[in-house]
Symmetry: C2
Subunit: 204 residues, 2 copies
DNA sequence: CGAATTATAGGCAAATTTGACTATCGACGT
DNA sequence: ACGTCGATAGTCAAATTTGCCTATAATTCG
């Protein structure tokens, strides 16, 4: 990401990785270690940044520091502004599974949703913890995480709240017997009546 | 995606694309035309599906139909269940821009957020429209979209609601003068007082 | 001290995705 | 009868990403 270089320049690849981690952006972007270096190379090829090989210090000759060029600065502003002005839908990892939900059994699906509720709650706790570790008025001038990174946390938290709400309402619908699952299909194609009656039948 | 083949088998590549579109999954998954065919080839290589070349009909000899193997069925169940039991965080496209927000001006950011609110509202309207086009009790047996696809819509709608809430609260914070933007930095490094005072100063 | 682990720095082959392209058939208007 | 447009069906090179690998300094720990 061009922006990271823009903030921390001059930087080398390892710095970029480190800062992405320290701002806790790794959970919301898919940036693996390897892709940082190739991204930098591509940016350099496109003349948006320029790299200088640093040999200086004793045993560490292999290090390339990058700075943003004038062209890169222009491109950066353009990218930043379109990111803000244009809403882009993220790829939701649950959607494929959701489309295939009828291949599960109603019982397992309910259990899985319960597990998801717990995991989502745990994620929110973790976010709260990270948020609390950001100092009031931090500017990022020292090595610290600047205050506005809290917005990243809050943004994520809101999305999770949204998913929590949907999960609860979906669970309610499942309990009411909505939909006909793979293990419930009988002649007429209607869903089976809810659990109480099933249980009675079983006890016969 | 293995699952799509599982539902519609036997299918060929073009079918897969068509069904993904008809279920409106394209907005939440990143599946471009080309990737469908390579995905099918990989699944075939791994023996999860088997393809049969169909020449039959007049002018269209090039067509390969796929069915899921026994192994593929097992793998399918495994993938489906881990997708449900394990919450995975999506890559949020706004997060990079959010981290770089201080490189914007407060004014433009507020305008952009206003535009986002409108776009998000429009997306919800569109989702409502699609949702309404799904018939009650549809099973997907004919060419229609099965009823449970509504859950996909509702899931997405909840995420959007979450983003809407955050956007409004962020806008409020911006109006209160929180954070110090690139165009607002003065000696002491503190944010400027809120708009009212700015306006007064301007009128002098 | 010496060994093991962690932090620093980066490379690269293989897998995957992208996006633009080819080619045929049928329907439609003119 | 002809050109065009959209739907059908799929290919492929180039761009990108992934995972795992190398190597040295620094730090920890019994």
């Amino acid at each position: 990401m061009l922006g990271v270089v823009r903030i921390f320049q001059p930087v080398h690849g390892y710095d970029v990785r480190r800062e992405l981690l320290s701002w806790h952006l790794d959970g919301w972007m898919n940036t693996k270690t390897g892709s940082v270096y190739s991204a930098l190379k591509i940016l350099e090829k496109d003349r948006l940044i320029t790299g200088t090989a640093l040999a200086g210090e004793p045993g560490r000759p292999e290090r390339t520091e990058y700075v943003v060029t004038a062209e890169g600065e222009k491109e950066f502003q353009k990218l930043l502004r379109t990111s803000w002005w244009q809403v882009k839908r993220p790829a939701e990892p649950l959607v494929p599974a959701l489309s295939l939900m009828l291949f599960m059994s109603r019982g397992e699906l309910k259990s899985a949703l319960g597990a998801r509720l717990k995991q989502l709650a745990a994620q929110r706790d973790e976010l709260a913890f990270i948020r609390a570790s950001i100092e009031d008025g931090a500017t990022g001038a020292d090595g610290d995480v600047p205050e506005h990174v809290r917005e990243v946390i809050d943004f994520g938290d809101s999305r999770i709240k949204g998913e929590l709400e949907w999960t609860r309402s979906f669970l309610k619908r499942l309990n009411e017997g909505t939909y006909s699952f793979a293990d419930e299909r009988n002649m007429d194609g209607h869903p089976r009546p809810p659990d109480t009656i099933d249980a009675r039948r079983k006890s016969l």
